[in-house]
């Protein structure tokens, strides 16, 4: 009985002694914390996506105060957040750049695009890519194992029932993580306000593409002919859109024989 009492007393005494000692030292060594850092952190979206180039929202808030970082780097927050931070700091903020989204420029699921071998390894694009450039015949297309989907902090990348992956426009916060993780580089920036984008990334010749993919761009330039003002450019047998050109593009959308020109504004499944 006495042993229990002594144990209780000695450990309790030790704990209290160390606790009080630490508290005293903590007060003595207290760091001055800048209130503004936590206030700015509260203004940021808190996605911790890293698109500003800092480790997270807290690190970015710290950099704005202590390292004079540009307050307009937050892409998810966009102009609104940049303005709020500017107002808080009392500086004018120059928010450059229009809102953009990442889009996966390929609709070649394994149904539509031929494969050259059966891959049964780790379900990750970066594991698949080094093995003969992926299991698809097309070496430019989306590998479809969803590495981008797993890093997306806002859940904007979803899988269509056909098997391909695509980005929901209004959920994308343009953090750019998917671009970094994609080993193929099939994800590209598209202006948020844009109407159409070309959902193919293959630079193979039209005849080649025809053999292995049902939805790949063959560089036939029908889009160019149907919408001459639409800013369609054919380069390396692949169409792309120059968004500076604002002419109508509806004819091209309707006429594309491969159905690889698609609307940007996909907001739900």
């Amino acid at each position: 009985m006495l042993t229990i009492f002594y144990s209780f007393l000695s450990i309790g005494f030790l704990g209290i002694l160390l606790g009080v000692g630490l508290a005293a030292v903590a007060r003595f060594l207290a760091l001055k914390k800048d209130e503004r850092v936590s206030q700015i952190e509260a203004l940021l979206p808190g996605a911790n996506c890293g698109s500003c180039g800092f480790a997270g929202c807290a690190a970015y808030a710290d950099a704005i105060i202590n390292a004079q970082a540009d307050p307009a780097l937050c892409t998810p927050g966009g102009r609104a957040v940049a303005d709020r931070i500017g107002a808080f700091l009392g500086v004018s903020v120059n928010y450059a750049g229009e809102r953009k989204i990442a889009q996966i420029c390929c609709r070649g699921s394994r149904k539509a695009s031929a494969v050259k071998y059966r891959y049964q390894g780790l379900q990750d694009c970066n594991a698949l890519k080094p093995i003969f450039n992926g299991d698809k015949v097309c070496s430019f297309g989306c590998l479809g194992l969803g590495s981008c989907q797993r890093v997306c902090p806002s859940g904007a990348i979803v899988r269509h029932q056909e098997g391909y992956l695509y980005v929901l426009r209004d959920l994308c916060i343009a953090c750019g993580r998917c671009l970094k993780v994609c080993p193929v580089g099939v994800i590209r920036w598209v202006p948020y306000e844009a109407d159409l984008f070309v959902a193919c990334h293959s630079r193979d010749k039209g005849g080649e593409v025809r053999k292995y993919c049902e939805v790949g761009c063959i560089g036939c330039s029908i889009c160019q002919k149907k919408s001459p003002q639409g800013g369609f450019v054919i380069e390396n047998y692949l169409a792309s859109i120059d968004y500076e050109q604002t002419g109508g593009r509806e004819e091209a959308l309707a006429a594309c024989p491969r159905k690889c020109i698609l609307p940007v504004a996909i907001s739900e499944k």
């Binding site: 042993t3 144990s7 000695s10 450990i11 030790l14 160390l18 630490l22």
Partner: protein
């Protein structure tokens, strides 16, 4: 045993990392560059030397007189945790970059078995307070030596071509294994030869 004997024992013969395999987590985690490795080494040295002194006092002034030796582990850990907390606050105050570089490994010294290990070994070897302190210091210096060598090797390895599957942690483990083999050269015979 003389102080020199204790130092040689814990730095070389019973090196905590390379012979006893205690405290491997920061050894791999913080050995990527020399600067933070040395910082970690000194933090551990500080904690081990103070901890073995304080735990000696606890053992001989509190636990033994009251017959409470079974409370060794919990009371030692309590002291070690408080010391680590102290080190953490001091480092955060005097060197924020080092604090950032050490990251999670700094509070993890609390559960570093090398620290508890030296405290228990010192008590079990019936050292007097000064011997305990020297043993703790030597154990810390042994850790510092191991992590310093390791970080230098890893910095060199960064510039070498290493086959893909071995890059990063795997080659670090292989290196650590080879270093441990090297440290097998130090054994009791060395002590006898040096000190007669």
């Amino acid at each position: 045993m003389s102080y020199v004997g204790i130092i040689i024992t814990f730095v070389f013969i019973n090196n905590f990392i390379l012979t006893q395999f205690l405290g491997l987590c920061p050894f791999i985690g913080v050995s990527k560059n020399v600067e933070s490795a040395v910082g970690m080494g000194f933090a551990v040295t500080f904690v081990t030397s103070l901890a073995s002194l304080v735990t000696w006092m606890i053992q001989h002034f509190i636990l033994v007189p009251l017959g409470l030796e079974f409370l060794q582990t919990i009371s030692f850990i309590l002291v070690i945790a408080a010391l680590v907390q102290l080190v953490e606050m001091v480092i955060q105050k005097i060197s924020p970059p080092l604090y950032k570089a050490l990251g999670i490994y700094l509070p993890l010294i609390t559960t570093n078995c090398a620290v508890l290990g030296i405290a228990l070994i010192a008590v079990r070897s019936n050292y007097d307070p000064l011997e305990s302190f020297v043993a703790g210091l030597a154990a810390g210096l042994g850790f510092l030596l191991a992590i310093f060598l390791m970080s230098n090797i890893r910095e060199k390895l960064d510039g070498e071509w290493i086959p893909g599957p071995f890059r990063g942690v795997p080659i670090a483990f292989i290196t650590a294994g080879l270093m441990a083999l090297g440290f097998m050269a130090f054994d009791r015979a060395l002590l006898n030869n040096l000190l007669g």
